[in-house]
Symmetry: C2
Subunit: 337 residues, 2 copies
């Protein structure tokens, strides 16, 4: 018994020692963004938040106007080598193919089933729309949310062999938390589908469904056999990208944000709209520069263009984060526990 | 000096006596809904709130799921003899007529300018749409919000010669406050235009713009002479009425409410959707029965039909408030100060 106690005591001692020596990154009031090194971006963000929350500052902003909007793909989580929602779409096509033997001979389904990247690319936007409609519509809103939740438990990122949900950006999680601790309301404003994001965002980012804005399909309220349902119809409704983003911010929130963050040309108009606020405002552009820990892609990529957003950010003096240089850690799993 | 003190003391005594005798209605923790008498509706509401907020109750609902939705016209403020937004529309037509001499001879504008009720009614829905588009679109979102704010300061209700904003329902203000004190998030889900309601709802009801859902016009983001604007286009986008209400709740909130309140057939589907929640839920139907203090209208009225909603409320045992019998006070200005 004594021996066991001794051994246990030694183990505890070693454990405490190891914890003490590890580079544990902890969020504190003094250091609210521990995964950001003390670069210009971090200092600018903290100065901004201190300024707009200081009642004695001429730049003080009332709580109800502290609206912060974030793009999702490439801003809050990785978007390489494909958007996660496209990963979902491909996985669903394979799953649904059991009931669609005709897909073996029908493009673009055939291409997805065979993993034929060239044929997928050749199918273009029209092909992609067919895949999206086949996987995202034709069920009730409740059923679709469940499909997403079930998928995310087992789905693995094609390159990293990790759950997709591991690939959220630790520095941005800290930023979201920091904003909320300072009475900002945090919103996602993404080109992704609202129905795809909402089952995930509360757990991933602490952002409730009513603060998630995205692209959408038409829906319809119906009573089916005495049961009230919202049906997802096979028709696009709104593309929440580019000039769509400020339009949706105006429709869903009805106030101009004082903070916006994005990483591509699709976010430019949201950043412009935020920068036109009469109140103090802050635009954060996430620049993917880390080819080792994440992906480096600049100006042109197979998932989209990035030149206009980056040029305007530089031109107007918006804060551009150099991920490689400014982020100590990219993903939560890199944190030493 | 002594005499002054004595007189002051007497005045103070009389004042305190008068306050003690007046029917001052005050919200307290013990009586959160003072303008409701102790009728079935009040008791049911309080029991529901106590139940879903009691951690030891099997009916406990987590904070994030405490979503309460309210129709606006006829539920939170009076809608007689015309919807307030129609009052705004008519006033705007008269204002804008200065720049539209042709309206003197053009229907339905002529009818509004001449106060010709029959001709307005004859113009029907198509005529109404023309009036709405002429007054609600063609400007930026910021300009329109200012127009509404300017209007509401001077506008008077056509029958009561009071500001429209005086005609909010005191018992419903207390209910909104009571819900929020119990960590409910309160939303407006109205057939009225989002752009018309949002400049008013924060001050009137304590409901911020991002929790106001309504009908909408198409909008467009543009940079005009270097200035970012949202243009209100002369095209209807969404009619937030009847089956539109659950569709919008699903799109804007993404959760089923646990409480819904309405007063007409336009609210029926929202109440049905709420009643289909797996979680405990409460449907409150406001029945306009007071012909003296407000307006009594039942089943059929020139502003809409009310029979289906009322029948289903009675049939399904939803809580129907008899305004005449259950509300001690209708409007805040009736409160003794």
């Amino acid at each position: 018994m004594l021996r066991i106690r001794k051994t246990f005591g030694l183990l505890l001692f070693i454990t405490l020692l190891l914890i003490g020596c590890s580079n544990e990154i902890k969020e504190t009031k003094e250091n609210p963004l521990p995964s950001w090194n003390n670069s210009d971006s971090k200092i600018s963000i903290i100065n901004f938040v201190k300024d707009v929350t200081d009642k004695n500052s001429p730049n003080f902003v009332e709580t109800e106007d502290r609206i912060a909007v974030f793009d999702n793909d490439g801003t809050l989580w990785s978007e390489q080598p494909i958007y996660f929602q496209i990963g979902f779409t491909f996985d669903r096509i394979k799953e649904l193919a059991k009931n669609h033997p005709e897909w073996k001979n029908e493009q673009p389904f055939k291409a997805v089933l065979e993993g034929d990247k060239k044929a997928i690319a050749d199918a273009g936007e029209e092909g992609l729309f067919k895949l999206l409609l086949a996987t995202h519509t034709g069920m009730t809103s409740t059923e679709f949310a469940q499909i997403v939740k079930d998928w995310v438990v087992t789905a693995k990122h094609p390159k990293l062999n990790r759950p997709y949900t591991d690939l959220v950006f630790q520095p941005m999680l800290e930023l979201l938390e920091y904003f909320r601790a300072n009475d900002f309301k945090t919103f996602i404003v993404s080109g992704g589908s609202i129905g795809f994001m909402r089952p995930l965002t509360e757990e991933l980012y602490g952002i409730p469904p009513e603060q998630v804005i995205g692209s959408s399909y038409k829906t319809k309220f119906e009573i089916q056999n005495g049961k009230e349902v919202i049906l997802r119809l096979p028709e696009f409704e709104f593309n929440n990208d580019k000039a769509g983003k400020p339009v949706a911010i105006n429709k869903f929130i009805g106030k101009k944000p004082i903070f916006a963050s994005g990483n591509s040309d699709g976010d430019l108009q949201m950043l412009q709209w935020t920068s036109s606020n009469d109140k103090p405002n802050f635009m954060l552009y996430v620049h993917h520069t880390d080819s080792v820990r994440e992906w480096a892609y600049d100006r042109e990529s197979h998932i989209g263009k990035f030149d206009k957003g980056l040029d305007e950010a530089n031109e107007k003096g918006w804060t551009v984060v150099d991920m490689q240089k400014e982020w100590e850690v990219i993903y939560p799993f890199e944190l030493k526990k």
